[in-house]
């Protein structure tokens, strides 16, 4: 009989023990799988959101977060200069602000306001109604679902926006979804002219951010290099550079937590299987000695134990994948309740490499777990053990 069927029979003889071991490995494996998904989940999810906008380079005045640092002055000239670069296909200036919005029925809300040009790529997704148009009177705006629901707005609704005492009337062109809108946040976009009207104090020729789309086949890195050459005073970031910065900074806590928990869960799986196999071997010393006396080699005994370990870890690890995916949904829902997290951002994202790492770590745990019991079984003195078994 081959080692695998032999191991199956050994495990089947103690079904309660095998099932409990399997359950333990499945639960621990699920946590391990989740931590592997968490280790890169934010980066993968954030990249998806960034890519969905259609822009692969961001330009700011300083290294600060757009909207928190000082704005880029003479934005019009900078935009025109960047548009002339052969590596650049599109440049869109963006302004961020906060205004108070008042609907006709008197309902009010604080709104995160974006000032930009008409939509070129994936700056937002139109859900209902029309898109933002340039130079209309009253000025147009697109609003997100939260704002539409909170203020009872629909395409065509009038709305007052104010940052000071005098509100300025706008008209809702459509209901849209912004890539980075957060749960419960009212958000709207207007043209740059509309932005200057809504925020009277805002300087007209400033931008918090320039969104740049590189021209194929140059790519983002070439566009960044060209911008740095042309305007060394600006701070352009490709998507990769931005993600690397986030990986080192803002997202690093969850990466470290996932590393610590992955290590602990792998060790836990190893400990669990080692204990089960070691106890199993200690209970079957007579059986192992008899097999050795019948001509089973040391290598064969070790192969049987390895097969037993592989069956336990393999089945537990396979169960851990659906269990881990279900658990990840729960944990993701918890973490996404954090304030200021974009509603499209996920902490746990499935990737084939997470599955590969899951298999590799459990495989290593399986090998390491089988090592000690295999060592015990292989070193067993045959005649002394058989004599001991007969006497007892």
């Amino acid at each position: 009989m081959r080692p695998l069927p032999f191991a199956w029979r050994s495990l089947s003889r103690q079904p309660a023990r095998a099932l409990l071991g399997l359950a333990g490995i499945a639960v621990v494996g699920a946590l391990l799988f989740d931590m592997l998904m968490l280790s890169r989940g934010l980066l993968v999810s954030f990249r998806e959101i960034l890519d969905s906008t259609g822009y692969d380079v961001r330009v700011t005045a300083t290294e600060g977060v757009p909207g928190l640092g000082p704005p880029l002055e003479e934005a019009g000239a900078a935009t025109d200069a960047l548009r002339a670069l052969p590596e650049v296909a599109e440049v869109v200036p963006v302004r961020f602000g906060s205004v108070s919005a008042r609907a006709r029925d008197g309902r009010t809300a604080t709104v995160a306001l974006l000032g930009t040009e008409t939509r070129r790529r994936g700056e937002w997704r139109v859900l209902r109604g029309g898109d933002l148009a340039q130079d209309d009177e009253p000025p147009q705006m697109v609003v997100n679902r939260t704002m539409a629901e909170d203020l009872g707005l629909a395409p065509g609704s009038p709305l007052g926006l104010a940052s000071g005492l005098e509100p300025r009337e706008f008209r809702v062109a459509g209901i849209v979804e912004f890539p980075f809108e957060t749960a419960g946040e009212s958000m709207a976009a207007v043209t740059l002219a509309g932005f200057a009207q809504a925020l009277g104090a805002a300087a007209a020729d400033e931008a918090d951010l320039l969104l740049v789309a590189s021209r194929p086949p140059h790519g983002g890195e070439a566009a960044v290099a060209a911008i740095r050459r042309l305007r060394p005073d600006l701070h352009p970031f490709s998507t990769d550079e931005l993600l690397e910065r986030l990986r080192q900074g803002e997202f690093s806590y969850f990466r470290q937590v996932s590393l610590v928990l992955s290590t602990i869960t792998s060790f836990f799986a190893f400990l669990l299987v080692t204990t089960l196999l070691t106890v199993s071997v200690n209970q079957r010393l007579g059986e192992v000695a008899a097999l050795r006396a019948l001509g089973f080699s040391r290598r064969r005994i070790a192969a049987d134990l390895l097969a037993e370990s592989a069956l336990l870890v393999g089945a537990g690890g396979a169960l851990a994948v659906p269990l881990g995916l279900a658990l990840a949904r729960v944990l993701d829902a918890i973490l996404r309740q954090m304030p200021e997290v974009p509603h499209r951002l996920h902490f746990f994202v499935f990737e084939p490499r997470a599955l590969a790492w899951h298999g590799a770590l459990l495989g290593a745990a399986c090998l390491a777990a089988a090592a000690y019991p295999a060592f015990l079984a292989a070193r067993l003195p045959i005649s002394a053990t058989l004599r001991q078994e007969t006497l007892s």
């Binding site: 023990r17 333990g24 946590l31 880029l72 104090a201 900074g249 204990t275 729960v330 309740q337």
Partner: protein, 272 residues
Amino acid sequence: MLLPALLLLAAASAAPPPDILVSRTLLRDRELRVGDVVLLSADARGASARPFRIAGTYEPTPDPSRFTARRLEARLHLPDMLALRGGGAADGADDSVSAVNVALADPADAAAFTRELLARAPTVTVAPTSAGDDEHFVVIERFHLAISIVTVIGSTAFLLALMVIRADERREVAGLLRLLGVSRRRVLAQALVEGLCIAGAGAVFGVLFAGATQGAVNAFFQWRHDTTLVFVRVTPAIAGRCLALALPLGVLAGVFASWTLLRRPVLDLLRR
């Protein structure tokens, strides 16, 4: 407050410049020293920069929502800050602030104070600063609690497997004891005490291990994020919760494993 440009001035000007404090991180990263005169500007390109003298350094209040950010910060006297921003009387910038910190005589009055202030000035935003109210803390706590629950489920399966093995090892002894007249309840009580001891010893070891290693964990995360935030703290309440969870689970595991054995006939236990 984050300032966009900070340049070391080669020589101090004639009139003594106003004093500022800079954060420990800024002092270290830009290789500054107390007594240095630096130029600060509100403009990204350093326009209209003014000289300031570093009077000292400070540790920014740890902020859990920003602990991954490098705290390159400086503290200025409010008039200096307003002058630096270039606000004139026309736009009211010389008489405006972003926030006002309020220390209450009795911190327990925070909710009542918030209500009253909002009633009198509905346009202001009032937020208590006590850590427990921070949404980040609440969410992180929920996340760690969920992971703890999963870990406990995995550990319970492990403990059950161990107890089943232990019960199986003593199958014949249990049979003999039953033949000698020892009641099922007595054998079960023995298993219960054993489960309690294993779970108790494991939980105590876990608490001691966590207590012994919390310093290393904090040191690592504080070093990694350059913050004074405390990430792990084993409190008596947490240790108590750990024991309160582990002990009943140990008892249940012991009873379950023994009951699966003891419900069999005595001769079956003796393999006869």
